[in-house]
């Protein structure tokens, strides 16, 4: 087989299930014998992205493509979009409400973490249309 293709619906109304797609990908990577440090890097980045889709975009789709030498994860939503990407990428910037903060999110660290842990990070967002983030970790 050339590569492994996985797709998940991320439910925007279910905070409890957020992170399941990432857990599943993590499990697959472990089974494939990928280096634990690389697994953790993509797991953190994808999990942050999954949580973002749930709390900021009412859910979306997570697609993972696992190759021999890398994993590429796409997080695609049809949420509100991000007005100012540069600002959103700043550590500490967050529009999260007090409700979300009381759940442990809204430190404004998710996007910076995603960039920090991946070998390639791409973000496209259009107001009123949605956001697409592509994360790549090389093994």
């Amino acid at each position: 087989m050339e590569h492994l293709h996985l797709e998940y619906d991320v439910d925007g109304n279910n905070f409890v299930s957020a992170g399941q797609a990432t857990e599943n990908v993590k499990f697959c990577l472990k089974g494939l014998g990928v280096n634990p440090q690389d697994i953790r890097r993509i797991a953190i980045a994808m999990y942050e992205g999954e949580i973002n889709m749930v709390i900021h975009a009412n859910g979306g789709k997570a697609i993972a493509d696992i190759y021999l030498d890398k994993i590429v994860v796409q997080l695609i939503d049809s949420g509100e979009g991000i007005a100012n990407i540069e600002q959103a990428m700043q550590p500490g910037f967050s529009t999260a409400t007090e409700d979300i903060r009381s759940l442990g999110f809204g430190a404004g660290m998710g996007l910076p973490n995603m960039k920090k842990y991946t070998d390639d990070f791409a973000i496209e967002s259009t107001l009123g249309v949605g956001t697409k983030i592509t994360l790549t970790v090389k093994f």
């Binding site: 905070f15 409890v16 957020a18 992170g19 990432t22 857990e23 993590k26 634990p36 440090q37 953790r40 890097r41 797991a43 953190i44 999990y47 942050e48 949580i51 903060r101 759940l103 442990g104 999110f105 809204g106 430190a107 404004g108 660290m109 998710g110 910076p112 973490n113 920090k116 842990y117």
Partner: protein
Amino acid sequence: MTIEQVAQILNAEFVCCEENKHNEVHSACGSDMMSDVLAYVKDQSVLITGLCNPQVVRTAEMMDMVCIVFVRGKRPSDEAIALAQQKGLVMMTTQHRMFSACGLLYSAGLIAGESC
């Protein structure tokens, strides 16, 4: 130290997976903001927190942590317990507040995980 020693130091009560209490732990992280925890990729084995929802367990799992300590006598939600049981993640609850729980473990030799 072992997870069992963590429980002794904090006078904590096990919530689940006590059978894994003989596992060794070396470093810890204390926070109520999950992205703060996720910001430091270095090995950390214990998460000290006042948050009780299932995302605490997911965060610990992403970081390959093996033990969660809930401060201020908090008890995790049933969903959080079910998730931790699936993963064999030890959970315990202590009456200490965050600052003292961290201080006690730090003086006993647990170190802070560092950024990569």
